[in-house]
């Protein structure tokens, strides 16, 4: 998974559908930390797919506290949480 991520610099996809907290939050935080460089320096976004409603509260809360911009969008049956520095027209 990590090799592919290095090639695609725009988005890092993380699909944690079927999982609940605290797993959702811990996995997301782990990925955010793991790809810190890519997210912070290269302007990539981490896109988390989750069907656990509580994660749309905990993940944005934690990521915002770490200085990232977060947006949440509802898809068909799940939520997509985008974590990054420069999405939705925000300047880094």
């Amino acid at each position: 998974m990590t090799d592919k991520i290095e090639i695609n610099l725009d988005t890092i996809n993380l699909d944690i559908r079927g999982q609940i907290c605290p797993a959702c939050l811990l996995i997301s935080l782990k990925e955010i930390n793991k790809h810190k460089e890519t997210l912070r320096c290269r302007g990539a976004n981490l896109v988390v797919k989750t069907d656990h409603r509580d994660a749309t509260r905990t993940i944005p809360d934690a990521a915002t506290a770490m200085g990232y911009t977060v947006s949440v969008e509802k898809k068909k049956g799940y939520y997509e949480i985008t974590v990054g520095l420069e999405h939705e027209g925000r300047q880094a």
Partner: protein
Amino acid sequence: MLDGLSQIFFLNLALGAILGFVFHRSDLCMAGMFRDIFLLKRTFLLRILFLQVVVTMVFFFIAKKLGLIGLYPPPNLGLASLGTIMGGIVFGAGMVLAGGCVMGTLYKMGSGSIISIIAFAGLIIGSAIFAEFYPAWLQITKKTAVSEAVLLSQLADENLLTIPVLIFSSIIILRWINLKKLSQKAYAEGYIDPWKVAIIIAVLNLIIYLSSDMPMAVSTGYAKIAAYIEKALIPEHFDTVAFFGKESYSVLHPVSKAAIVGGPMAVFDHMFATEISLIIGVVLGSFISAIMLGEFKLTLSTFPPPKQNVSALMGGMLLALGSRMAGGCNVKFLMSGLPLLSIQAFLFVFGMLPGAWIGTYLFKKFVISYDREGQ
């Protein structure tokens, strides 16, 4: 015309469905509350719990003063012992590992979470395991009882205790309202603010206390389900298990003189009418909410990782063991016991806090290895 117990059953079924619905919408998760103290250093949901306890306390206090409460203290609250603290520790660890408490597991299961279905199975299995050790555990609780009183108000004047607590708590809550600390940005569709849900739960709990003579409780319901299953599968062994033959409470109603009997026996009794109804109702209400939002998610295509399933099963078992060791769970003790200033409830919370810390530690160590650096 339905008899009294059946009326209580259907009333609690309906109230349970409302509970399940609002729990699903707000994710007012008690496991999350205690876990996030240690995991995120966040106390938002804990403030909501405080609000809920205080509002419930006001309701129960007024109802008592108006003479509306028949049984006080309610017979489903008992004597505190060191076993209550030990049960709280086991329970606290279990709810973090299971991803939800006895209530959270129900509403998450209703919305189709496989992990919570596994935790539910763990709760049933854990209840059956406890039943085997019940006679030995009973001796421990008897030897380590800390007080002859059930409620603090039996030791000191009720007004002198309750009124200052309510005034002081109201000041804290008003301060939080001014600082906007009782709401938080949320993104989920159909979200209901947890503070609203806290008040709804307090109202439902009052209705339950007035209609069934006991405030909300749910965990012995799991033991009762275990009793029915064990009776069906291994009837010879079932007959020898003392736990499944002994009522938890048996009292006469002071006004109607009707016998109120309930316990983990495999029969339709007061506990069946009050607790099994809530279990079914919460699952149903959450299911309805999830379907309405198009968020029902029971599918094998996103089957959770093995470690999380093991954690859920173990967590569920610990939830059952902890609540049976303590004589109740977070619903009875935190939602109902704290507002009544039950000594048992205070000791349970005292155990639950370190328990949640242990659960969080175990989860980070064995399920998803995580430290601050994300290594």
